[in-house]
């Protein structure tokens, strides 16, 4: 318990003379806070009057690091921004540079990228699924989904050589080619996921009355709040807005694949849960189509450039990460070192909406609500 919650006082958090009002610190070292998030709660009894997320505990200055190294040297940083969907971020950065510099990516590399990114999205959602239920007190599903996630990590490991911080993309392609073993394993995984695992998760968790009671109507993000804070990803889609960068501004070759953008209108924790399960299914569909269509050919341009000097100017490139709209904003002065490289990370906006969402809820629901928006703290702090 603390009486001095914040170095920069937020007027809403100030004690208002009510002797019943007290403050509760949740995190940064709380077993069910995601990473190192600190939530300062102003409470009366069990009711949250005001909440304030405090961030910055995992700050590693990635954006600053970008300013003193050339474009290539920033590559390993990208998958460390969000280590749970590192592949998407790594590839997104490559795609941004490719778009700026008009680098042609070989067809095969595009397909491999899509497969890798979508597998990564599934693994990220699986991890969320496991930890979210762990927060709510269910240990068994966590063990099951980590088994699945492990399979994805092994599949990606077999081509990238690492499990989380991939550095797999290069400007113009990818570092390593996939073989028939990779394809066979991916297909086997997809079959297992669709036929066995996802229906099991639905029966074990999604249909469980106790779980539904815990989640339905809890932590409602209204469309208005979502728009005001720039909430994206499954959190936005749970309010009925079918916004997905893959569909809204198709990048790479996403326009060639058939997939749905699942939406819900309730905006509550249950809606976000259902959405992510459905999104895993859609990702499976995309992976299957990409594996079927995987063409032969090179995985890097014939002559990759040695130095990358984007023409002076400002550029923005967005992709859909597992958590929402991820943008890379580059200001170049024509040299091979960016003047500024800003990463627009979805978790930050999603977390910013929390004070509005948490107001007048019960402290026991905090974990369910914060867990359901799927924040990754290192991504927020960068």
């Amino acid at each position: 318990m603390s009486t001095e919650p914040n170095p920069e006082p937020n007027p809403a958090m100030a004690p208002d003379g009510d002797p019943e009002v007290y403050y509760l610190n949740m995190g940064p070292q709380h077993p069910s806070m995601h990473g190192v998030l600190r939530l300062v709660l102003k409470m009366r009894g069990e009711e949250i009057l005001e909440a304030e997320p405090v961030i910055g505990y995992a700050h590693r200055a990635h954006e600053k690091m970008a300013e003193n190294r050339n474009y290539l040297m920033f590559l390993p940083n990208t998958s460390r921004v969000d280590y749970l969907s590192g592949m998407i971020y790594n590839i997104a950065y490559c795609q941004a540079i490719e778009k700026i510099m008009d680098i042609e990516v070989p067809e095969r590399a595009e397909y491999i990228r899509i497969i890798a990114c979508e597998l990564n999205r599934i693994s990220s959602h699986l991890l969320w699924f496991g930890t979210f239920l762990l927060d709510l007190g269910g240990i068994t599903p966590f063990l099951y989904c980590f088994d699945d996630r492990e399979e994805i990590l092994d599949i990606l490991d077999s081509v990238t050589g690492s499990r989380l911080t991939y550095s797999y993309g290069r400007f113009g392609g990818v570092t390593m080619d996939v073989d028939s073993a990779f394809v066979a394993r991916t297909r086997a995984f997809l079959a297992r996921m669709r036929d066995e695992r996802l229906p099991k998760y639905r029966r074990l968790v999604g249909d469980n009355v106790i779980f539904r009671e815990r989640c339905e109507g809890v932590g409602v993000i209204t469309r208005d709040v979502a728009f005001r804070y720039g909430v994206t990803g499954p959190c936005l889609r749970s309010t009925g807005v079918a916004y997905d960068v893959r569909r809204a501004e198709p990048y790479s070759i996403y326009d060639r694949f058939e997939f749905k953008i699942p939406t819900r209108v309730e905006g509550d924790t249950m809606a976000r849960f259902d959405l992510r399960i459905e999104e895993m299914e859609e990702s499976c569909k995309i992976v299957e189509q990409a594996v079927d269509g995987l063409p032969e050919g090179p995985i890097m341009p014939a002559k990759p450039k040695k130095r990358y000097r984007p023409p002076a100017g400002e550029y923005y490139f967005a992709v859909e990460s597992a958590r929402g709209h991820f943008g890379t904003y580059i200001i170049s002065d024509g040299t091979d070192v960016p003047v500024k490289l800003k990463l627009r990370t979805p978790s930050f906006s999603n977390l910013s909406s929390m004070p509005d969402v948490l107001r007048n809820t019960m402290v026991a629901d905090t974990i369910a609500i914060v867990g359901s928006i799927d924040v990754v703290m290192p991504e927020i702090d960068r």
Binding site: L75, P76, T140, D154, D157, S162, T165, S167, T175, D207
Partner: protein
């Protein structure tokens, strides 16, 4: 009544859940008892970089161009080297890499003009301190003198071959009365792979500067 139905519904879903976990109980465990059973390493597995030993020369082919040192985002490579007495090829005399800093990004491997870097398969490394400075030349130093002698022979041989070729080309050109053109072509031919590597290294150096 509604309350009773809810409790019943809860009970049923509880039993559905229990039946799923019960069935899972009799399946083969997926857990690997790690130190006793080891999974096989992925073929793409990345660990600390190392210098490749080439069969033809029985040594590495680092020409100390410093391209890898300059591209390394973790600034963990330290190379010294240069001209060696007696041979045309440049050689590295010092090549250390701080594995504690390395982010295994592979940029150094991509950039090497002589393709002499690769990932090693070290995997259960542990230590009592933070000193992870690895000397990548260690396994080559004993052999370096012999390499230089052999390299000199190789270079001499290559030079002699080149000369012979040029002479032959000249003779042929004299016959064909196209002397100018063919002699030029002969000169442009490279002596061997090694000299070429030197050149590429040099270029990369200039490019990076």
């Amino acid at each position: 009544m509604r309350y009773v139905r809810r409790v019943l519904g809860g009970l049923i879903s509880l039993f559905v859940g229990l039946s799923i976990t019960l069935r899972e109980l009799f399946k083969k465990p997926v857990t690997l008892q790690y130190p006793h059973e080891k999974p096989s390493l992925s073929p793409a597995y990345r660990s600390a970089i190392k210098l490749i030993r080439f069969d033809e020369t029985n040594s590495h082919d680092c020409v100390a161009c410093l391209a890898c040192q300059k591209i390394c985002p973790s600034f963990c490579i330290d190379i010294e080297g240069g001209k060696v007495e007696g041979i045309k090829k440049k050689r590295a005399t010092k090549f250390t890499m701080d594995f504690a800093l390395c982010s295994l990004c592979g940029l150094c491997i991509d950039v090497c003009p002589t393709v002499t870097l690769e990932y090693s398969k070290l995997y259960d490394e542990a230590g009592y301190n933070r000193d992870w400075n690895m000397d990548l030349l260690e396994e080559f130093t004993d052999y370096e003198e012999q390499f230089i002698t052999e390299q000199r022979e190789r270079e001499e041989k290559a030079a002699a071959e080149k000369k012979a070729k040029a002479a032959a080309a000249k003779a042929k050109a004299g016959k064909n009365e196209k002397a100018g053109k063919n002699e030029k072509a002969g000169k442009n031919e490279k002596a061997g792979k090694n000299e070429k590597a030197d050149k590429v290294g040099g270029q990369a150096e200039e490019g990076e500067a």
